[in-house]
């Protein structure tokens, strides 16, 4: 089904996307910055307001749809990808956003995330990763560090965390990126690129929960250290970082190492970023980088094209209709094997023998 909207797209402003609901996060929560980046980005996409649909699960993050003046559905815990998939299948013209938290997406919702990604539904998934369950007041999540002391782990968590990007890569995602709540411009840019990608887009947003996990992203979120702790991924550019742009990454066997150099004369064998590298190993390798051994990569890790689920779904119907003709009630009821009973009670086969 395709919906039409008035032909001309009105020029929209940030405030056109602000809803009348009061925002209910704790003062200082990173979610505010994400909302701001989102509201700032939406008008730049050239999409009418009514064609956005924001689907969320449950959690602090999942309150997001209430604050955006588009279609919004605050569903149940972990299931946003399923509802979004149904909606997107029903109407591929919509721009569908999935807003989720680390618990929502990777704890209860891990399976739906996997399948949404591998199906390549053309939806945009923004995972607010604060490495904690915020809404339920502070238990460890699947992204919490081992040893994390929380309400439910007074002696520290004993589980190894899952890396959301690595999970997305293994789930055959076609767009995988990372950004952070403390960098408005980068967030906005990443959100825009995610939306532009035709296919599923998976974005991890490093988010601070000031109440239950304050400072969890400290090395990267603090402006003054960020240049040393992160490396920004840019297409076809060598991987260079550092306050003075004096460090870079170089392949070493099946892996990479940091090299330092004079910024004037960067070495020629630095690793060059390619989101569409023929092998997914490049991106997968980047997901393994963690501070302090390596800088944490920020940006788009991978972006490749594959037919989307909803396109293929509609395409099969189109082909079936083309081949068999559009079905109607009569053909539906009759099927392929009927017989007539005439007034005398005699029976006559109508069709080919049923084999």
């Amino acid at each position: 089904m395709t919906l039409t909207h008035s032909g001309r797209i009105p020029v929209l402003k940030k405030k056109d996307f602000e809803s009348d609901q009061e925002v209910r996060w704790c003062p200082g929560c990173g979610d505010y910055a994400i909302l701001a980046a989102f509201l700032k980005t939406l008008p730049t996409l050239g999409i009418p307001r009514e064609n956005h649909a924001i689907i969320s699960g449950i959690g602090c993050a999942a309150r997001f749809p209430y604050y955006v003046n588009t279609y919004g559905f605050h569903t149940i815990h972990g299931r946003a990808p399923t509802i979004a998939s149904g909606l997107k299948s029903a109407n591929p013209d919509l721009t569908v956003w999935i807003i989720t938290g680390d618990g929502d997406a990777l704890s209860i919702g891990g399976n739906h995330l996997l399948h949404c990604l591998r199906r390549n539904m053309n939806v945009n998934i923004l995972l607010f990763n604060n490495r904690i369950y915020g809404l339920t007041k502070g238990q460890y999540s699947p992204t919490s560090e081992k040893g994390k002391v929380t309400k439910s782990t007074p002696l520290g968590s004993i589980e190894s965390p899952v890396n959301p990007l690595r999970f997305a890569m293994a789930s055959e995602a076609t767009f995988v990126a990372r950004t952070m709540d403390s960098d408005l411009r980068h967030m906005s840019d990443t959100i825009r690129r995610a939306q532009r990608h035709k296919g599923v887009s998976f974005v991890e947003i490093m988010q601070n929960c000031i109440i239950f996990n304050n400072g969890t992203w400290k090395p990267v979120s603090e402006k003054k250290t960020r240049a040393e702790t992160t490396v920004t991924l840019e297409q076809n550019k060598p991987l260079i970082f550092g306050q003075k742009l004096d460090k870079g990454l170089r392949l070493k066997g099946l892996g990479a190492e940091v090299v330092e150099f004079d910024p004037e004369t960067p070495p020629s064998d630095l690793l060059v970023h390619d989101v569409a590298s023929p092998s997914s190993l490049h991106a997968y390798m980047l997901t393994e980088f963690d501070y302090p051994e390596m800088p944490i990569p920020i940006g788009v890790f991978r972006q490749v094209e594959r037919p989307t689920y909803e396109d293929s779904l509609h395409e099969q119907n189109r082909i079936a209709i083309e081949n068999k003709g559009k079905g109607d009630l009569k053909s539906l009821l009759h099927g392929t094997n009927t017989w007539e009973v005439n007034a005398d009670g005699e029976e006559i086969r109508n069709d080919a023998v049923d084999v």
Partner: protein
């Protein structure tokens, strides 16, 4: 020997053998011949457990039952008059069901040591007195078949025994005076690429037929005259297929695309399989990663404005409970098909039961009422699916559709309805932004507007938190919560304005009423009519809608001294009726993975009439 011919109104024959013995095929051929002969026919397969069992064992037995009649048949599942058992295990499993004095045809050659042991027989039942109550016909089918076919040129000798089933079919064709030509034609077509196979099968069929004619083993032939069948166009249909076609029909009548989200599960998978073939009807099927996802995508599609349905069986319905709460809270229209099977837990997955009624009512957190409809026959699956969609979109509610394994696999000839008799289903997606509120309601139905994403000016937010009455905003207001709980209940109650009154068959009032729901309809109606004809004051009423109940239900119940509630569970509807009307109803329960037999229902009624135990 003079050939005697006895005339019968209706016969039930069951073919039983090992999973590999081709019993489904045999049954289908017999059905086809009978339908073309002009009988009313109704069939029911009885599959073994979900996975293949070793040849010759009890769990490996597969059955196919055909009820053919000169009258209108209401149940394929009644006690058989004739049992064809291809091995000892098939005999063991099925003999208990046979009517006293019924005919047993066995393949004598298989009643040997290892087979008997696998079936758990100590001795040979063909030799002891255990079958004395039946008319036993013991035929060395393996030998006869092999003798008949072994000289066919190019015959694959490994497959020589594969035509034993056609030999047996030939025997039954003679016994019931069925013409064999439609089967001959079918064999020729089906195996046309393999002339040796055609030759083998034809030879077996005919040899069986002539053997029965000449062997003088049957004292008489039985004739079931053609039924007075209403003129029209017919097809055969199973319940699952009818459910699928009903949903597609509803989508055409609503002029809105159908979306079906499902995760395979016995006995509901066939609904998905059928629907996935209707792509040229613009049907979208979505095989989800599990049942939760299946209902999730369905909610999404409903939110997107489609005729949305999801289908599963008991364990899957349990998984969907939480998400169905969201559907109730957000008041989105959809149909939730549940094809019941034996429980609890994995239970008896290939067997039928009616034990999900209370789960359908109450299997969700909070006060979370849903409309519930249950088809009463394979054909009614078609109409019930349309009714479910009609109510869902009119009232903006999810509707639970309770089929069962018996209906799902049961097959009937279906006199196709006239297209004009199928009323359109009006669907409105709101577009007018004036005075739009997400939870503003239609005064008659209390339906909220169906405003779908993509519609300019109607942007709004919904979700699982309690909603403020009209705006739909999140509300923690105590009074609002109570009000909304009552409104959600009231919506369901008002559906009673839109459903048919309960009809009484048999006695209009008097001693006993049989109150049924779902797939037990046929057997119980037949029992009622037979008893009524025999002079008893017995009526029958059948609930297609379980929630809400029809408005005249109480009045109907009060017309009878005693109400019996037969169910394939431990008394679920019975409990609801007692609670609602404070009537001391009599439960009649069976939890054996099998449908009611007419005779056992009659017996129960007579017991109650006699004031017995």
């Amino acid at each position: 020997m003079v050939k005697t011919v006895e005339s019968r109104q209706s016969i039930v024959i069951r073919f039983a053998g090992d999973s590999g013995d081709g019993m489904q095929l045999t049954g289908n051929r017999f059905t086809d011949a009978s339908a073309l002969f002009g009988n009313d026919v109704s069939t029911f397969p009885d599959y073994p457990a979900e996975i293949r069992a070793p040849a010759g064992t009890l769990p490996g037995v597969s059955g196919f039952q055909v009820n053919f009649s000169s009258l209108d048949i209401r149940t394929p599942g009644d006690a058989p008059d004739v049992l064809v058992a291809m091995n000892p295990a098939a005999l063991k499993v099925n003999i208990k069901d046979l009517k006293r004095g019924g005919i047993v045809i066995v393949n004598k050659d298989t009643f040997t040591g290892p087979n008997l042991k696998k079936a758990g027989y100590d001795g040979n039942p063909l030799d002891d007195a255990s079958l004395d109550n039946y008319q036993l016909h013991s035929i060395p089918i393996t030998t006869l078949n092999s003798n008949a076919v072994r000289d066919i040129p190019d015959l694959n000798r490994a497959f020589i025994n594969r035509s034993c089933n056609l030999f047996a079919l030939g025997v039954t064709f003679w016994l019931f005076d069925r013409p064999i030509d439609s089967t001959v034609k079918w064999i020729e077509q089906k195996f046309k690429k393999f002339p040796a196979v055609v030759a083998q099968n034809l030879k077996a069929l005919k040899t069986g037929f002539y053997y029965a004619e000449t062997a003088e083993m049957f004292p008489s032939q039985y004739v079931v005259e053609p039924a007075k069948i209403q003129p029209g166009t017919y097809r055969e249909i199973t319940g699952n297929e009818a459910t699928a076609i009903g949903l597609v029909a509803a989508s055409l009548l609503a002029d809105t695309q159908l979306f079906y989200g499902s995760y395979p599960i016995t006995p509901a998978s066939d609904v998905l399989h059928h629907l996935s073939k209707y792509k040229n009807y613009n049907v979208m099927t979505f095989q989800a990663e599990d049942e939760i996802a299946a209902v999730g995508v369905t909610i999404g599609a409903a939110y997107g404005g489609l005729i949305a349905a999801t289908g599963t069986s008991g364990p899957g319905l349990a998984l969907k409970g939480e998400a169905l709460g969201l559907a109730v809270m957000t008041e989105l229209p959809m149909v939730v098909v549940n094809v019941q099977r034996g429980g609890p837990s994995t239970g008896l997955p290939t067997k039928t039961e009616q034990s999900d009624l209370l789960q359908a009512f109450f299997g969700r957190n909070g006060e979370c009422p849903m409309v519930i409809i249950a088809p009463k026959s394979p054909i009614d699956c078609f109409h019930a699916a349309i009714d479910a969609v009609r109510i869902a979109v009119k009232y903006m509610v999810p509707v639970l559709y309770l089929s069962d394994g018996y209906l799902a696999n049961g097959m009937e000839p279906w006199c196709l309805p006239e297209i004009e008799d199928l009323p359109k289903i009006p669907v409105t997606h709101r577009t007018d932004p004036n005075e739009y509120f997400p939870y503003i309601r239609d005064t008659e139905t209390l339906a909220r507007p169906w405003a779908i994403p993509g519609t300019p000016g109607l942007e709004h937010r919904i979700g699982g938190l309690e909603k403020a009455e009209i705006t739909g905003n999140v509300s923690y207001d105590p009074d609002n919560h109570q009000k909304m709980c009552l409104i959600r209940q009231e919506k369901i109650d008002r559906v009673a304005n839109d459903i048919e009154d309960l009809e009484i068959r048999g006695a209009e009032e008097g001693d006993v009423l049989l109150l049924t729901w779902g797939g037990t309809y046929g057997a119980c109606l037949s029992a009622c009519l037979q008893l009524h004809e025999e002079g008893h004051s017995v009526g029958h009423a059948h609930l297609r809608w379980l929630n809400p109940f029809p408005k005249n239900l109480e009045a109907v119940l009060r017309k009878f001294k005693t109400v019996i509630v037969p169910e394939l569970n431990l008394g679920q509807l019975n409990m609801l009726i007692r609670a609602r009307f404070l009537i001391d109803t009599v439960p009649f329960n069976k939890v054996k993975g099998k449908p009611f037999m007419i005779a056992e229902v009659k017996e129960k009624v007579l017991e109650v009439l006699g004031g017995g135990k």
